[in-house]
Symmetry: none
Subunit: 159 residues, 2 copies
């Protein structure tokens, strides 16, 4: 039993396959018509299968000549590496270990210096807000750090 969501998701994936391009453009209305569903179902498909966490970026425009553009930023066979990274980060990670990991990833060319800077800024920001705004205990901050780091690394796990 295949859900409509899966069918539509698979169809979108084939659109990527047809050309070597890593970007496709759709009309929400047309897609909905093609699969005989309400337009908002397309939003659900996109939200559940083509999120940034899954390596896709979406850009859309409403109104006249509206469109939905989906960009794929990820190789398909990097699942193993992503899993490995998830293991490395784990459920909780200290500030120090996080930094060590980032340094190592940068040295191995997995991420660029700018990307590392970006991640560090994001982590520090979260850390500071957790401490100052919500007075979170250290362990909670470690798990939240791990969560953010995992999401970021998995989404970047390509190349």
């Amino acid at each position: 039993m295949s859900s409509l969501t899966k069918v539509i998701g698979d169809y979108i994936v084939t659109l990527f396959g047809d050309s070597p391009k890593s970007e496709i453009i759709l009309r929400r209305k047309d897609l909905a018509e093609k699969f005989g569903c309400v337009p908002s179902q397309i939003n659900y498909v996109l939200r559940s299968r083509f999120s940034p966490e899954q390596g896709f970026l979406i850009q859309s425009q409403r109104g006249g000549h509206g469109f939905i553009r989906i960009m794929q930023l990820r190789f398909d066979d990097c699942g193993e590496y992503a899993e490995h990274l998830e293991d490395l980060v784990g459920d909780a990670i200290s500030e120090q270990d996080a930094r060590r990991l980032m340094v190592s990833l940068q040295e191995r060319g997995v991420i660029s210096p700018r990307e590392r800077l970006l991640v560090e800024v994001a982590l520090r920001n979260q850390e500071e807000q957790g401490r100052v705004l919500f007075d979170l205990p250290p362990y909670k901050r470690d798990t939240m750090r791990a969560e953010l780091l995992r999401k970021i690394l998995v989404s970047l796990a390509m190349f």
Copy 2:
């Protein structure tokens, strides 16, 4: 199947490309005639595609020998550019506006697609935690989003 607005916008961009100058001058009436539209459509193109947020400044003059001058903003040093970015983000920014800004920055080559992906993941993570974990009101989330985005963009601008 491009909108007229996009066609005209693209045409204007080619005008910049033709000369090394960072400034062009045109006649609203002539442009409207060239593309077979009402003159006010040109105003719409300018408002929607050549705003200060998108790196352009516009001067115009009515009457006899009226004209429209479009200037491309350029920044001489990183600090200035960082300041500009901070202004663009402001104290609070919606999810949509943040995404629009990222798209525009990526299209202008200020950030790479990977960097944009990374920022989106970080923003979405913060958004979700603010909503689910702390039940923050929308405005608070907008200010926190602005804070994170400002930190990230400024740090990248300095790099």
